[in-house]
């Protein structure tokens, strides 16, 4: 008898511990959807995303926004109150999501679930479906368990912590978005494709010894022209040699690395008069300009 009571108590604790997991998922889903809507601007950006593709095009952004609002409402309701309405509403929401994803997988196998906005662009698979099933089960547990509101911090026990972490790990394992995030972090765009502000390169130039050694030649402190080619930012200044010849002083600043290379040349009307170099790429020797540039596959 006591074993059964202990068992019920543990199950209730495990079920209650899933509250932060469910709330976290709902809030993350809301934020990701709103960011996607703000970034996408036009509804066609949502054409490959989630249940929105099942509705007419003009309704897609609103559909995604409605999903976000419902998720936020559920999260707020679960945290703020123990009213069964929010608990059973959550059960219904995730159960319906499971059905919609199943239907989406059948009717549009090319689109992602859109659960976390643009991060969920991979086609709906068994993992995404499994995640909504697990979330449905978690919400049923919350509805069955009669505890109230945000989970009681003073009553934190090892069972609660381990249960919450276990739920989180399970959801993470069923989330293809994690791999997408890791890929985005791991594979940084090459320097040639990354936007770099001209002011950053100009600040680096002005702190270099090459700049100091040419500063006297320059007629003005502001460049007459600046442009970018691959991973180099060029600054052209008008200048004058000691002999009074009018020249162009051009600086090239590498846009990557802690101590990027800075090169300079003094160019007359017809010929290069002087070349200077400071620093190296990534602290090493200055590499020659590649004949061709690499890009992503």
């Amino acid at each position: 008898m006591s074993g059964s009571v202990w068992g019920d108590s543990v199950f209730e604790t495990i079920a209650a511990a899933q509250l932060p997991v469910v709330v976290l998922l709902l809030v993350l889903g809301t934020v990701a959807k709103v960011v996607t809507i703000l970034k996408g601007v036009e509804p066609e950006g949502l054409s490959q995303m989630g249940p929105a593709v099942l509705v007419p095009e003009r309704w897609r952004a609103r559909m995604l926004l409605l999903c976000a609002v419902v998720e936020l409402g559920l999260a707020a309701g679960l945290v703020a109150t123990s009213h069964p309405l929010f608990r059973w509403w959550t059960v219904g929401f995730f159960a319906m999501s499971t059905f919609v994803l199943w239907e989406l997988r059948r009717r549009r196998p090319d689109v992602g679930c859109g659960c976390f906005g643009e991060m969920s662009s991979a086609p709906v698979g068994l993992r995404s479906l499994g995640r909504t099933v697990v979330l449905t089960v978690m919400s049923v547990g919350l509805a069955w368990q009669d505890g109230g509101g945000w989970f009681p911090v003073p009553d934190l026990s090892w069972v609660t912590i381990v249960s919450a972490l276990g739920g989180l790990v399970l959801i993470a394992l069923l989330s293809p978005e994690i791999e997408e995030v890791v890929a985005r972090i791991r594979y940084r765009a090459p320097c040639e494709q990354r936007p770099v502000a001209a002011s950053t390169a100009l600040a680096r130039l002005r702190s270099s010894s090459v700049w100091q050694s040419h500063a006297e030649m320059l007629s003005a402190s502001e460049p007459t022209d600046t442009w970018r080619e691959l991973c180099w930012r060029f600054f052209s200044f008008s200048g004058r040699t000691l002999q009074g010849e009018t020249v162009d002083v051009v600086f090239a600043v590498y846009l990557s690395g802690r101590r990027p290379a800075v090169k300079a040349a003094v160019v007359g009307a017809n010929a290069v008069i002087r070349l200077d170099v400071e620093g190296g790429l990534e602290g090493g020797a200055v590499k020659p300009m590649p004949e061709t540039v690499g890009v992503s596959a």
Partner: protein, 322 residues
């Protein structure tokens, strides 16, 4: 012609980095060089055509017996009206005509409106389409003749406001008529350019993709428009967007453009912002499917000298820094 200041960039960059300055023009190869001659028809006979170029020079070229001209369809060269603008692909030192295109125009942009009330002075079923051709080329009103609408609609299934449009046609009496689709229309609306795929590990020595042509250049201008320019440098707010992962270059940079379909190559200078072409994630199927969308937009003269056919509208290309 590019701004002299922009032209100077290449010299200055080469000086700073200690590299050579390659001149623009074709790269020597096994193929016989092609020449583009653009101008206005002064006289045409079955064997000879005289055109006046933009510089006011009269060029006389021999027409081979098998040569057909294109002006909305294949026509005999003698049927080209006097005064029409032609682009000629010539061989043997620009003395023998190989192909002729008369009053050809390319209509590329985003559909703003479609009116189905017939063209002024035209047939009642013609459609009038207003296009946004980008910040540099402005708005353009064209006519889709009823007899060409079926062929255009097959390749442009979303023939409605907001979607992209790309066709080849004829400019006649100040009006542009669209006759041939230049691409299969992208499925997304103009302006909603998909992000390029993330850059993964290894890099390629050159970029493969699609080269197209545009009539946004001067008649005899050699040059290219490139989408990935810094807005600050190019003065083009809409540049720097492309669904292809392209490296940043600048106005004045020299591209080595290699036509994969014909084997011809040339050094072509970037003279314009290619923000419109950056929005097309379509593919060229001229000689196999191109691996990426549009990476460079060439002037008609450069396109023709690289062996391109203006009617086909594109070729597969590999580009590198010249």
């Amino acid at each position: 012609m590019p701004d002299p200041g922009v032209d100077r960039r290449r010299v200055l960059a080469a000086a700073a980095l200690g590299r050579n300055v390659d001149p623009p023009g074709p790269t020597p190869g096994k193929e016989e060089p092609l020449h583009a001659v653009a101008g206005m028809v002064l006289d045409v006979t079955p064997h000879m055509i005289s055109v006046e170029t933009a510089e006011g020079v009269t060029e006389r070229l021999v027409i081979a017996p098998w040569v057909k001209a294109w002006r909305g369809g294949a026509v005999e060269p003698t049927n080209l009206p006097l005064g029409s603008k032609v682009i000629i692909q010539a061989v043997r030192g620009a003395s023998v005509v190989e192909k002729i295109w008369g009053d050809v125009t390319r209509i590329t942009g985003r559909i703003l409106s479609i009116t189905s009330e017939g063209s002024p002075g035209g047939r009642p079923k013609d459609q009038i389409v207003e296009l946004d051709c980008g910040p540099h080329r402005g708005r353009r009103t064209i006519v889709v003749p009823y007899r060409a609408s079926g062929r255009l609609r097959v390749r442009h299934p979303q023939f409605e406001q907001g979607y992209l449009f790309d066709a080849i046609g004829v400019r006649e009496g100040g009006v542009s008529y669209a006759y041939l689709p230049a691409t299969s229309q992208p499925a997304y609306r103009g302006g909603a350019v998909p992000d390029p795929p993330p850059a993964y590990g290894g890099t390629q020595s050159r970029i493969s993709g699609t080269a197209v042509w545009s009539d946004g250049f001067d008649d005899d201008e050699r040059g290219a428009a490139y989408p990935m320019l810094e807005p600050l440098d190019s003065g083009c707010e809409e540049s720097g967007k492309s669904c292809v992962g392209l490296p940043y270059l600048a106005l004045g940079s020299m591209l080595n453009v290699h036509n994969v379909c014909t084997g011809r190559a040339a050094n072509v200078q970037i003279v314009a912002c290619g923000c419109v072409s950056g929005g097309f994630c379509d593919r060229c199927v001229e000689c196999g499917t191109s691996p990426r969308g549009r990476i460079v937009e060439l002037s008609p003269a450069s396109f023709v000298e690289l062996g391109g056919d203006l009617i086909k509208g594109c070729f597969n290309v590999r580009i590198g820094l010249g």
